[in-house]
C-alpha cells in the first residue's frame, strides 16, 4: 500500500498514567504502519528489563531497547533504555547518553523530542501523553520550531494531566485528541 504522508518518524513520551495508553496505541496500529516509533517513558531507574517485553506482548512490531548508534529501521519501535537518554542523530541512528537527568528524568522526553525535531524537522510527529511533571514541554516547543507536528493527549482524558497541560502553557499544539482519535489519526496515514 502506498504511503502518502510526509512523516519519517514518530516520537511518543509519557509518564504516570501513560503506559496502558501506549500499549493500546501500539497494539492498534496495523501491520503496514511502517514509520519507526521512538518511545521515552519514565520508568523505574534500576529495573533494567521488563518494559520492552511488556510492550512486545501487545505490539505487532519488533520492540527494541537500542544500543548506542543502532540504525533506526522502519516498522520498529525503539524504547529508551533504563537510565539512559535516547536521542536521534543526524545519520538516523539512536544515540544514547548518561548526561544529567532533565526535569529529574533520565530518560527524558525533552531530550528525545528536541533531538528528533532537529533531524526529522517537518517529517516528525511528536505525541505527549499523561504524566505528572513537565518533561516533554520544552521538547514539544522545539518540535514546533522545527516544523514537526505536535499532538497531545486531551488533558481531560489523561490520567494525570500535568504533562500535556504543560505543553499548552508554552506552545500551541497542532492537535489535542483523545487516545482513540490519536489511533485513528495514525491509522489514516497509511490508508
Amino acid at each position: 500500500m502506498a504511503i502518502k504522508h510526509p512523516y519519517k518518524a514518530i516520537v511518543i513520551g509519557g509518564s504516570a498514567g501513560s503506559f496502558q495508553t501506549v500499549l493500546h496505541i501500539l497494539e492498534s496500529l496495523p501491520k503496514n504502519f511502517s514509520i519507526p516509533i521512538l518511545l521515552t517513558l519514565h520508568r523505574l531507574k534500576h529495573v533494567r528489563s521488563g518494559l520492552a517485553e511488556s510492550v512486545s506482548l501487545t505490539s505487532h512490531k519488533p520492540i527494541v531497547e537500542p544500543y548506542d548508534k543502532q540504525a533506526i529501521e522502519p516498522n520498529t519501535v525503539y524504547i529508551a533504555p533504563s537510565n539512559y537518554h535516547l536521542m536521534v542523530d543526524d545519520d538516523f541512528t539512536c544515540s544514547l547518553s548518561t548526561e544529567q537527568p532533565v526535569e529529574f528524568s533520565r530518560p527524558s522526553i525533552d531530550v528525545l523530542f528536541a533531538s528528533a525535531a532537529q533531524v526529522y524537522k517537518q517529517q516528525l510527529i511528536a505525541i505527549l501523553l499523561s504524566g505528572a511533571n513537565k518533561d516533554g514541554a520544552q521538547g514539544m516547543k522545539i518540535v514546533k520550531q522545527c516544523g514537526g507536528t505536535v499532538i497531545i493527549q486531551d488533558p481531560s482524558e489523561a490520567e494525570v494531566s500535568i504533562m500535556p497541560k504543560s505543553v499548552i502553557d508554552i506552545v500551541r499544539p497542532d492537535i489535542i485528541m483523545e487516545t482513540e482519535d490519536i489511533i485513528t489519526f495514525l491509522k489514516n496515514m497509511v490508508k
Binding site: H46, R48, E65, P66, Y67, D68, K69, Q70, P81, N83, Y84, H85, M87, D89, D90, T93, S95, L96, S97, T98, E99, Q100, P101, V102, R106, S108, D110, V111, A114, S115, Q118, Q138, G139, I142, Q145, C146
Partner: protein, 271 residues
C-alpha cells in the same frame, strides 16, 4: 544538559576548539553542540567570542572546560548486576595474582573508580592491584582525589550497594560532614592517575582488565573502532574488557579480538 536548538554550529565550535583540543573531532557532532552549550551556561560564558577571549587570557581555562565537558557518572555502583559480576566472578580470578592491573580510560567524576576501590578493599586486593585512572582534566583528577561527593545521591548509592549484599554498609567507606560525603583516602592508595590529552594517549602498557563503561557514547562511530582498537592493544591476552550495557555492540574489534564472557553485563575476554 542543554535542551534547545544549538546556538553555535558544530563547525563554529570545532573551528574554535581545534587548535586547543585537537581530538574535538573525535566526539559526535550532536554531543559537541549540546555539551559546548552546557559548559558555556555552567561557566557563565555568554558567547563563543567570550569563550575565545577566556582561553586567550588564561590557557588553563581549557582544563576547566574539559573537566565540565567530560560527562560525569551520577551514581556509585550504577548497574548493580555488573558490579555483582565484577565482585563475584571477575575480581576473584585475580585474587592470588602477584600483580593485577585495571585501567579506567575515562575515570570521569570518580564514582566508578571509588566503586571499584571499595570492592578491591573488601576483597583485600589493594596490595596486589594497581588501578590506572585516566582523565582529560587536571582539575578533574584533583576533584576525584579529594573524594568529596554531594549527599544528594547518598541514598541511591546506598541502595545500589545494599543490593550487592557484601555484608557491610556503604557509609563505612566515607565520613559525612554538612552536606558532603568524604570518601576514605585509603581507597585510592593503589590508584595511579594519568592525565591524558586525548582518549588515545597516556595508556598503561598491559593491563588485565579495562573498565570502560558508557564512555564511547560520546564519540563518533568511526572513533569507536579506533578507540577500542587502541584499548585492545593494551589489554593482556585473556584479559577482560567491560563496556557499558548499551554501548555500541557492532564494533568490529569486539568480534575480531574478543569472545563474549558475559553477554548481559557486556564483559569480553581478549582472544
Amino acid at each position: 544538559m542543554h535542551i534547545g536548538l544549538p546556538i553555535y554550529t558544530y563547525q563554529e565550535i570545532t573551528e574554535l576548539l581545534h587548535a586547543y583540543i585537537p581530538d574535538i573531532s573525535y566526539y559526535s557532532k550532536s554531543f559537541v553542540e549540546r555539551r559546548f552549550q552546557y559548559v558555556c551556561a555552567k561557566l557563565y560564558i555568554p558567547s563563543i567570542h567570550a569563550f575565545q577571549e577566556k582561553i586567550q587570557e588564561d590557557i588553563s581555562f581549557l582544563d576547566i572546560f574539559m573537566h565540565h565537558f567530560t560527562v560525569p557518572v551520577t551514581e556509585m555502583f550504577r548497574d548493580v548486576s555488573v558490579w555483582k559480576a565484577l565482585y563475584s566472578k571477575v575480581l576473584p580470578q585475580y585474587r592470588n595474582a602477584s600483580n593485577f592491573s585495571i585501567w579506567l580510560p575515562n575515570c570521569s567524576s570518580g564514582e566508578e573508580l571509588y566503586s571499584l576501590s571499595i570492592m578491591l578493599q573488601k576483597l583485600s586486593m589493594q596490595n596486589n592491584t594497581t588501578v590506572y585512572a585516566s582523565h582529560r582534566s587536571i582539575v578533574g583528577i584533583e576533584a576525584i582525589k579529594k573524594g568529596i561527593y554531594s549527599e544528594r545521591n547518598e541514598q541511591l548509592n546506598a541502595n545500589n550497594f545494599s543490593k550487592l549484599q557484601l555484608g557491610t554498609n556503604l557509609d563505612n567507606y566515607y565520613t559525612k560532614s554538612f552536606n558532603s560525603l568524604y570518601m576514605n583516602a585509603s581507597l585510592l592508595k593503589n590508584v595511579t592517575f594519568m592525565y591524558s590529552t586525548s582518549i588515545l594517549q597516556q595508556i598503561p602498557a598491559h593491563v588485565d582488565v579495562v573498565l570502560f563503561r558508557n564512555s564511547l557514547l560520546y564519540f563518533t562511530v568511526h572513533m569507536h573502532e579506533i578507540i577500542l582498537a587502541n584499548v585492545t592493544k593494551h589489554i593482556k591476552q585473556q584479559g577482560l574488557l567491560i563496556l557499558g550495557l548499551q554501548d555500541n555492540n557492532s564494533i568490529t574489534v569486539l568480534n575480531d579480538s574478543y569472545k563474549i564472557e558475559n553477554k548481559e553485563e557486556r564483559i569480553y575476554r581478549k582472544k
